[in-house]
Symmetry: C2
Subunit: 269 residues, 2 copies
Amino acid sequence: MITATLGPKGTFSHEAALKFNPKAKIIFTETIREIFELVGKKKADFGIVPVENSIAGSIGQTLDYLNKFNVKIHAEEVLQINHNLAGFGPISDIKTLYVHPQTKEQCSEFIIRNFRNAEIVQTSSNSKSAELVSNAKHKSKGAIIPLMSSKIYGLKIIKTNVQDNKFNFTRFFILGKADSKKAKNPKTGILVRPSNDMPGLLYGLLGEFAKRKINLTKIESRPAKGKLGDYVFYIDFAGHRKEKRIRGLLDAIAKNFHVKVFGSYQRKY
Amino acid sequence: MITATLGPKGTFSHEAALKFNPKAKIIFTETIREIFELVGKKKADFGIVPVENSIAGSIGQTLDYLNKFNVKIHAEEVLQINHNLAGFGPISDIKTLYVHPQTKEQCSEFIIRNFRNAEIVQTSSNSKSAELVSNAKHKSKGAIIPLMSSKIYGLKIIKTNVQDNKFNFTRFFILGKADSKKAKNPKTGILVRPSNDMPGLLYGLLGEFAKRKINLTKIESRPAKGKLGDYVFYIDFAGHRKEKRIRGLLDAIAKNFHVKVFGSYQRKY
């Protein structure tokens, strides 16, 4: 089995791919788009893409490509994101800290507290930060990286969990050519495009959920391509598309909206 | 007047700051958090923060810091995001292309079409890409950067608008200690925290908007800190918090939800 995920080795996407299937052959890509292409063209059986991070927010590209490409949501994975200070020596010896800008933003309090007088070098990825310290092999250099990067590059963990907000998780979709026909505790993902203005329409849409007591787990408006102020809605809700009440819901929505069903899958959180 | 924005010079945030007030003294920060701190402590009069990009999605940090810090939304700005190929020579001479990972994702089709055989070097910012080409001063090096970076670093624009999706805009909030007391075509931003499960509550919440014919321009669920599956809603809608019908709306919502009003401001798109 072949899975595609964002590289390089040691990314959180790599970790999510291993969590989904530790034995699969992994193709590492440079962009999210390539993952959709590989699954769409059946060059990979599954593709692992980030959907949302509890701090950074939703990944719009993933939502937009779901709409654009002919792939389904087969499953989801949720990873707790922990950043670690890694290197060769104690924290007080580190004079140069390598850190990716997003990681830096997530660890800003820790960096301000401990590295006021150090040189902070921004890198293009967490793996790059690890590689630079690994190559230097000196206790004056440190990096803030995922656990997996520290293992791949042979760095010692000096301090774990250095992010400001300990509540930091990323949700991934496992893309495939089919969704999960059966799933325990299922969820379904859809896109809804209203035909005109929002207030009454969105209210009517949610009424279809409310009267069937179907629980929404995510709703997000996204700008519809081509015009500012026009929106589509990405909605996740509890239930499988094959259940009778969900079929009733989808039929009712389809009368007034354009709907695309991305698939049903097992809920993981 | 002092404004704070994300640096370094030449970022889209810098451009948004100049659009808001071309004469202000600008403080460049390294993180979004610092901007909230500077405005909260009155060390800057205004702070410019990105809220959402039409391709990359919402910036969760900005939404979360709005909830955490004591600042208001004073105004919004919207910038069209254009990426450009810049350097010293024709496109066919470029053997090394410097590009920030997010920019690379947004220009993936152009890069695949034109740089199959070139070395792609990922950088930590668009300004860094420009700086590297500027220092090399050689036609074999190119960068994909905003127009403003090319001006600051003295690079020639070789091809404009090289992003895959021409519909690419970023929305910024101008933060201040007060919102706009008067605004033409006003919008208001709020956060709503339901006290328990979503289906009926969100429906009831939207009913308050629908029955007053108040138009929503954005709705987004965000994980409430501390528990997976618990959500808060960020909502933008048409109208000023001082209007009678908006006061009625906010009073009605406050009966069943925790509400925080971030302020009213002039709609820019």
